[in-house]
Symmetry: C2
Subunit: 337 residues, 2 copies
DNA sequence: TTGTACGCGTTATCAA
DNA sequence: TTGATAACGCGTACAA
């Protein structure tokens, strides 16, 4: 029933304006080095208005051999760590005339690979990947020379990288606890297959070392599979010399820990200090959480900027950009009693 | 310096396999009704493998007149209300072979309009919009007959709509508080220019009415500009008959309120009950927040499903799908003392 | 079963 | 200053 009126083409515009298709193109793109008489230009623009003509970006992409689109591979857009990154990327992309494609990978390397192939088919101009789980994706990008920016600590891959200084962040958090007088500081974390996990452990150990506090492996709780804060707390508190401060891998984990502690009548920060990481949820808790703030938005912005720079100039040397993290002191930490 | 090796085309494959271009296309697309000899097929596939050929989706889109891409207009991807929607949309899109374009509008109607025009140029197959701020966008979609699904209570527009039952959610929350014995129930909310705000007020009033509790306008705090929970609390508590329960517009607002109350030594839920809305942050607080849970993920899923259905069958009658909200009772509510 | 030729809507290169 | 005309890479009707 619906009238299948097809969208007008530049040909329709040309005919209505009584000029050739190329002239239409010249007018609409203000093609440099080409002069169009005022009268012709007026006629073309009027025809455009009358027909409500919108150039077909697909055809343009085919002709120009670029799509002005970039893709963002995100582990999980519903994880509070990523939305601000996405925002940063989108802001920069939009300002530069690029469209953003969102690819949720769920950290599954197969899906990541599939998406990479899809983006290769779609001929996006470049890809930003949140956390790379599949080295094959990196190789593919290189092989097909698809510009790729990785939001993660640089490893082997020869790609542009933007990352937050996890080691420093972790170091400062623990150093701060030490300055508060704590010497028994626990670190509860997840599977260290991810590099950021290892980095935070590294910062933790280094801060202890610099303060000449011997590392006690009983205070480092690593959950290789399912994280269980309850278990960790139980084990830590059954030590002969339990911790007076806990440094958690993330805000989310810190909050779970806080809940357990409060349920047991342990007061924060009077009885124990808690520090999180990310600063995504830290200002929502009561007491508000001391945490290491990651510059997620800026990371997104920087990643998009680096990518777009590279699109303009493919021969640029590879960049590794480290963004600082910052300790944000709130109410979940206090001097050791 | 970098070798500008261009991506192989179907022509390259055809030449290597010693067949015609159409044969390549037939093999790769398994074109129905066309039989290809095993030998030919093998040769083609081998050539594809050797060249690592990836079909150019842009060219395909141009030829087939569809892009297999949909766009999601989101108010603010960093607002915890939206990521789960985005996930739902992405999941469904991916399963159906569609790619998702993310358009952050910041609720600015101009940007929304610009993005609509851009998506029209890009010839996406359809658009899902989180909350429509610009009626012009709706008109444009209609005019250009671009399928549009709106995630919001149906208003005038003749488009498919998927929305959560805000009135019911609000009603149940207040009803629950009444059942707990509360009669002085405050509602703190934002500018009612948005329809969901008005709906929640409506549900609030209706629950009071059904319980024969007279509506007291002193208990309804509306912030037209900047929300200031502190002011609201001050005013409410200086009433001769202050509230014993507060129903907040959102989880976020509820949390701000909780912080203020706790700071003043008021205990939750012993001294006052608090209810939020959204269920995005409600399980992070201490005590955990009783709230009205919105099915964000399902809304995204449903919206994408409706859109894709319509793409398959444009003549389908318009759908208005209402999804239920659900009261989730946690620890921030208790019987009135 | 395979090949030819045209269409998709632009941009770009030459002539005029 | 403008107009033909050839890419761009693929799908597909039609012919062989």
């Amino acid at each position: 029933m619906t009238k299948k009126k097809k969208a007008p083409t530049s040909w329709d515009v040309a005919r209505l304006a009584g000029v050739s298709r190329s002239t239409v193109s010249f007018v609409l793109n203000n093609t440099p080095g080409i002069k169009i008489s005022e009268e012709t230009r007026r006629r073309v623009l009027e025809a455009v208005k009358i027909l409500d003509y919108k150039p077909n970006a697909i055809a343009r992409s085919l002709a120009k051999q670029k799509t002005e689109a970039i893709a963002f591979f995100v582990l999980d857009i519903a994880n509070p760590v990523f939305p601000n990154m996405a925002r940063g990327i989108e802001d920069v992309a939009r300002h530069n005339g690029y469209t953003l494609l969102l690819c949720n990978t769920d950290g599954k390397s197969l899906r990541e690979l599939r998406y990479m192939n899809l983006m290769l088919e779609r001929r996006v101009d470049g890809v930003i990947v949140g956390a790379l789980s599949n080295e094959e994706v990196s190789r593919l990008a290189r092989k097909k020379n698809m510009p790729l920016v990785i939001l993660e600590h640089p490893r082997l891959h020869e790609h542009d990288v933007v990352y937050a200084d996890n080691i420093q962040g972790s170091y400062e958090a623990v150093k701060y606890l030490i300055e508060l007088g704590h010497t028994r500081i626990a670190h509860i974390t997840i599977n260290p297959e991810s590099i950021i996990v290892r980095e935070r452990i590294e910062g933790y150990k280094k801060a202890l070392e610099d303060a000449k506090i011997p590392f006690d492996e009983n205070l480092l709780k690593i959950f290789y599979d399912q994280v269980n804060e309850e278990t960790a707390i139980n084990e830590l508190f059954s030590l002969p010399n339990p911790p007076t401060a806990i440094f958690a891998f993330s805000d989310f984990m810190a909050i779970q820990i806080m809940k357990i502690l409060i349920k047991r009548g342990i007061r924060i920060p009077q009885d124990i200090s808690i520090v999180g990481f990310d600063d995504t949820l830290a200002n929502l808790t009561i007491p508000e959480l001391t945490t290491v703030s990651q510059p997620f938005y800026e990371m997104g912005v920087k990643a998009a900027e680096v990518l777009i720079e590279r699109l303009k100039n493919p021969d640029l040397p590879i960049q590794h950009i480290k963004l600082p993290t910052k300790l944000v002191i709130r109410d979940s930490t206090a001097p050791r009693k």
